[in-house]
Symmetry: C2
Subunit: 569 residues, 2 copies
């Protein structure tokens, strides 16, 4: 039994005004965490308890999946990162330091290099494969904008796992083993989530990747999910079934000649739509990008958004970024807002939907002018057509082709990656296969942001009065509260109940503080223990109230009934 | 059940030649750890399992003692360390870094500053006291000479705890609570240790401090312990009962006049002893120190060692260090080796035992000359007499006065400190007492090197063939080994036994590798699981061999008898 009077549980009526996310506010108010520096948090006893429960769920499911727990160092020699090529790529998010002998180290945000060197040095034969190693460890990433409490921190708790296989079939089995374990973990943690297809991004990898997304409005990712089948993907990766007209050849060009129109100060689609009295879908949005340092123009329909990943992949570019205003002006001859695909001396990539327009309006590459009557099939004949846009809400599902895509916001709480040989080749980590040949390991990597998961659960599990913990990770199972701290009958019975529960192995918090009932109940709602047993005036009759945090009403029960429901038989 | 064929357990016949300590060699050979950089180690699955058991013992005993688990950040703003004054004092052992905004951080080697700020901010009233917070966390200390594997690493696992009380009586109770918990922890871990009195050292603190020392030859500390009572102290702090003659006044000066003797190149006591044909106790060793930048001479008998802590305390000096040769020459007028107490123009501190000598020989403060016939009571009348030497083996015990002090080597695995108000005053952390007055918290701090403890246990628990784990922290409880991997009767029975044990919740390792029996048994001895069940030729009769790692002989038992002994009823 834990006595609330002795517990470091500083609840707050109000959260600091800079705490934007609900989970952040609740963690501060319910005394789970305190900030030490931007993105760097202390876990108070209540927060530590919940974090340990999450760790334990993760550990059990990793062990169940056959992964082996290790602990890899946070301090990693910079040479390893240089050898993998990530020392420069990772940029300022990598925390760097020098030791007393001026040797460079990185503080691990992830451990591909270390684990690849380890297994490369210790595992020589295919007979020892497959092998998956994991750890639960504090990680460091110097985020540019740490925010939302534990959702985007600079020091955070992560479970990372790495699989080693002899071939791609083996990797797929290891990957699916982790995929299944992740589903069990998030389900046990009480999370509403979706596993979505994602882009491999900078971590590299030749194979597939899925992200596990907690559904929450605060999420920084957009998920496109079918309303009919189980297709779901990160927006950056989401595909869609093109409408039957899209991409088909042989639209008959309509008569008409492009004409320049004076559009003073109208740069944005909304401004143009108002000026032309047309919908956004009548325009051709033209953006100038730098692909590995060379300018390209990307054209999408006015109601669509460019998908940079698709553009990057189509160009096989290592880096793609929107051109700065000066470059745009130099390339187009006009300030930002007046770019168009006609007469540009650079490669033009036009999305299928833009190419399918009968005619469209685009910038004239001249300040304060646009051109109307552009017929893509005629005037954009030299452009590279392709899928360069984000899926849009209402697009047809690419898998079932019957459903429509809907958008959700999500928080990435886990990811599984097929890495292939990216690291094993860079770090020369090889094994000998059954035929006696040296081969690089085929690797996968698998992460769960444990502290972020805690935030994600809170985004979903709260109401206006505070936290509503899922039982599996609640800091305590039962909260025992005598209404009056001065009434010996009440306090004695509360002590008795708490002692009986503790004896039965139930994690019990006893509110033994000398506080007014209102304060105690407000705190109890805020910290959200699943079962509350209130010992009030009817204690003398042997009666108590039992209320579940997730339900509105309390029941009046005998002492023994309440104990039985709370788990002390 | 864990299958050895799938476990990352790379055993080695030989340890790298630079591994000096037995524990270091064993941890490498038995596949517990691997080095990533100097003083930075990876824990492989076997090492991680043992570390987790130690963590669990520590956690249970901390919880039992009423301490509350937290998790404080590794990244600490440098300002906090500047405020406490430790940023400069800590020197190059403090790992420092700058974030992307060029703000300075330290990686915590310890958390006094962070926890003091936290409690100062959150705890306002004496009603919430006493409070003890703890954490189990990776720490960083940039050791000048990392060595002995986990005994002196740069990244290591530590349990640190901090107590907050309203007065010194409360601190003493908190301190004794931790002291008792430490005894339970080290006993459960199977460690032979002594709790010894120690010097507070640089961490500061006005009160007492104890170190918990694992007894081991490799230890870097010397412990003086009574052979009669339970007195034990770190040599730097050890006291002794002075012989009845020592320190008494009124020795009658003997006749005689000091005489200069030519002693070419004789600088060290051994050289002088040979030259004069006298024992070391006939000489007066004179050393020049710099105390807060000013030179002082310290005189001890030739067979004694200066105790710098005692000198420092007697002078109330903040810093004391041996003078460099140039300074010694400047102060004494002679090179190192010829200093003596006569005619020096600086303060002289003479140890009681030196003052008690009837006459002695010391340096003449002139190259290649010593002086004999020095009568301390006459010629050192101006010196400050005191206890300035280390206890020596054979000295009388200061507590029981009957026993004699004996010396042991020890590894510091834990310490408990009475800090008092050092940090609460520096960081302005205050509470309001019952009288309504603001008071700084009275603090204690309590550390256990968890990874170092693992090494210390191994220094004590091994034999020529490998590790002999204490049951409480063994990575597995039972090791099941079929002699022949090709004999189906043996392998089936081994599988059956391992499955039965696993079902009963016994942590079981099954050696299912296709290896020769000699290899399997050598590995089994090396990794040292407490109970080994060998399934050999008599499997067909239903018989197996059970051997405890700590015993020389095996017993032949029926399958069911062996299972019962191993814990599967």
């Amino acid at each position: 039994m834990t006595r609330q009077s002795q517990l470091l549980l500083p609840t707050l009526r109000e959260a600091p005004s800079d705490a934007e996310a609900a989970s952040h506010r609740l963690m501060l108010r319910a005394g789970l965490i305190r900030q030490l520096a931007a993105g760097v948090y202390t876990y108070l006893p209540l927060g530590r308890r919940v974090l340990r429960k999450l760790e334990q769920i993760v550990r059990e499911e990793m062990d169940e999946a056959g992964a082996q727990e290790t602990l890899l160092p946070a301090m990693q020699p910079a040479e390893l990162w240089k050898q993998s090529g990530r020392y420069d790529v990772y940029g300022p998010e990598l925390v760097r330091l020098r030791d007393r002998h001026d040797r460079e180290f990185a503080l691990g945000p992830t451990h591909e290099e270390v684990v690849t060197m380890l297994v490369g040095g210790e595992v020589g034969s295919y007979r020892q494969l497959p092998m998956t190693l994991y750890q639960i460890q504090t990680k460091f990433r110097d985020e540019k904008r740490p925010r939302y409490g534990l959702l985007r921190g600079r020091e955070f708790l992560m479970k990372d796992a790495y699989s080693f296989d002899e071939d791609w079939e083996g990797l797929h089995r290891s990957y699916m083993g982790m995929y299944d374990a992740y589903n069990r973990i998030f389900t046990r943690a009480g999370l509403r989530y979706r596993a979505v297809e994602a882009d491999p991004g900078s971590i590299g990898g030749e194979g597939g990747t899925h992200e596990f997304m907690a559904l929450a409005e605060i999420g920084e990712d957009t998920i496109a999910a079918c309303d009919c089948c189980d297709y779901a993907a990160n927006l950056e990766k989401a595909e869609y079934e093109r409408a039957s007209s899209e991409g088909s050849a042989g639209i008959t060009p309509q008569a008409g000649v492009p004409a320049k129109v004076h559009t003073p100060d109208a740069r944005r689609i909304e401004e143009l739509a108002a000026l032309f009295q047309k919908g956004a879908e009548a325009f051709m949005k033209t953006l100038i990008y730098m692909a590995d340092g060379r300018p390209v123009a990307v054209v999408v329909r006015g109601d669509h958004e460019v998908n940079e990943i698709k553009v990057k992949n189509a160009l096989a570019a290592a880096a793609l970024e929107l051109a700065d205003p000066e470059t745009t002006e130099r390339v187009t001859g006009a300030p930002v807002g007046f770019a168009g695909p006609i007469g540009l001396g650079i490669p033009v990539l036009a999305d299928y939907a833009a190419m399918e327009m009968e005619e469209g309006i685009a910038g004239a590459n001249e300040k304060d002018y646009h051109i109307k009557g552009i017929i893509p099939a005629v005037h954009l004949a030299g452009a590279q057509a392709g899928d360069f846009r984000n899926a849009a809400a209402g697009d047809a599902c690419p898998r079932c082709e019957r459903g429509r895509l809907r958008f959700h916001r999500g928080i990435e709480v886990g990811h599984v990656f097929k890495l292939g040989t990216k690291y094993s080749e860079a770090l020369n980590a090889k094994f000998v296969n059954a035929a006696g040949e040296e081969r690089p390991f085929i690797m996968g990597c698998y992460g769960i942001g444990v502290s972020r998961l805690l935030s994600a659960v809170l985004e979903q599990h709260h109401d206006g009065s505070g936290i509503v913990w899922p039982e599996s990770i609640a800091p305590f199972a039962v909260h025992v509260i005598p209404v009056s701290a001065k009434d010996r009958v009440q306090t004695d019975m509360a002590e008795h109940i708490a002692a009986r529960l503790a004896e039965a192995g139930i994690e019990t918090l006893l509110d033994d503080r000398d506080e007014r009932p209102g304060v105690k109940f407000k705190d109890a709602d805020l910290i959200g223990i699943p079962i509350r047993i209130v010992v009030g005036k009817r204690a003398a009759e042997g009666l108590v109230e039992l209320k579940r945090r997730s339900e509105a009403d309390a029941e009046t029960l005998s002492l023994e009934e309440a104990l039985a429901i709370a788990g002390a038989k």
